[in-house]
Symmetry: C3
Subunit: 190 residues, 3 copies
């Protein structure tokens, strides 16, 4: 019986490692998936309406604090200015590259003594590579070189995704144009 028992034990462990182990492992992996399951680097371009650039502006001030107006960004680091945007998304940092979708949403400046914003928006992607939306929200302390916001959901190719997007100001021209580099790392994919 000794040899037989050993066979059984061996047999059990072989089965176990090939069948149950992946289940144990995948459970762990899900709780600490520090490796992204998908990642993208994209750029978007914001041209703010200033009363004179209606033709090519991609965003407009729609809210402002007392005493401010809707064509000049407010004093106090633009505190209280709320902007709605529909910005082209490109694969590289060239405003004139073929857009692969639109960044649509809003941001507002929310601090009186330093430039800081808060963003809620979607990447609406419609290219051969990507069809679907990625939804974002979070604080953007834009004087920092990089800042992280949350990917709070997605649809289509990005069904139910979650992750982190790292924003970087790639260009900034006066109070009319800025370009953001968005380094998206998705940690939940379906």
């Amino acid at each position: 019986m000794g040899g037989s028992k050993l066979t059984h034990i061996l047999f059990f462990f072989i089965i176990f490692f090939f069948v149950c182990w992946p289940s144990v492992m995948s459970t762990k992996t899900m709780m600490q998936p520090r490796q992204p399951c998908n990642s993208l680097v994209l750029y978007f371009h914001d041209i703010i309406y200033n009363g004179k650039n209606a033709a090519n502006a991609t965003s407009a001030i729609v809210g402002a604090p007392d005493g401010a107006n809707l064509t000049i960004l407010a004093g106090n680091k633009h505190f209280g200015n709320m902007v709605v945007f529909d910005d082209p998304i490109t694969l590289d940092n060239n405003l004139h590259s073929e857009p692969i979708g639109r960044a649509q949403g809003f941001y507002f400046y929310d601090k009186k003594d330093i430039f800081t914003a808060w963003l809620g928006f979607s990447f609406v992607l419609n290219s051969t590579d990507h069809k679907g939306t990625i939804n974002f929200a979070g604080a953007d302390p834009l004087m920092n070189k990089t800042r992280d916001i949350s990917v709070i959901g997605g649809t289509g190719d990005f069904f139910m995704t979650r992750g982190i997007a790292t924003l970087m100001t790639d260009a900034f021209e006066g109070e009319v144009y800025f370009r953001l580099r968005v380094d998206i790392k998705l940690y939940e994919c379906y």
Copy 2:
């Protein structure tokens, strides 16, 4: 021993399929749960304030771009109009059905050449069947027959939920009334 061994193997597999297999399966299911764990179809009704309908309006323009006002939706496909709403939710498409809760949040039009909006809102449900909130965010290209936004969280009966909501414009009357059908599919339930 031959028959005995076979019995053991058989025995092992029987146990395995009934005990370990569900665990393996549920783990997989969680990573690709294309089958919703809960679903609801609800309607909500938006009556936009136009300066004359204060008594029964359920929403109002609170932000507008330069040159627009707060009682007439702006030109350029309403680009930049921001609307706050508190709309009744019903189980069917009848505005006068008993509401089971309120859709509360905001939307804004964000494209100059086609009607497109972005939504952030909650379903605040308070009926015998459902008590709790469901939170939504996402882009709404409203000329499309259906469009998907994200369920980003929930409370009460919808504790920690996530999913996809498919919006469909069920009725649209000039610039005063619209009704959305919301087909909610939840893929994370607790």
Copy 3:
């Protein structure tokens, strides 16, 4: 063989309970993690700009419905007032305690017959204990003693977190100051 069989069965169950069971359990735990993996109780303080308190105001009205202005909260339970804020976060309920970060975001009043708001904001924490952001969204029926909103994501120390935040109005002084107690329970931690 009778005793030997019993030994094998026993042997199997011992192995099973120590090896497969944790996997079955952890799967279940993930689906119903009613025990938070992290929790915090914090306060934030909102001082609304009223035209006279520019020096110490932490928030300002930036959107209002037709007929209202930007220094006096609107009638109809402030329906349609949209406020941008940058509020200090403290560990206790004292406005003058050392802030451990800023609550940055927006809220708007969204009901005509009772005070109700909707919030989208971030806790931007920068203390020895916590560095990172927590992002929130949800409905705030502020006449209720407590109300739950969603933690929709986080960054830094709160990488990818999700959970529930229970809001409680800890103080309310006229239309200038309020203090919220935020009881954060995180159910997804990485």
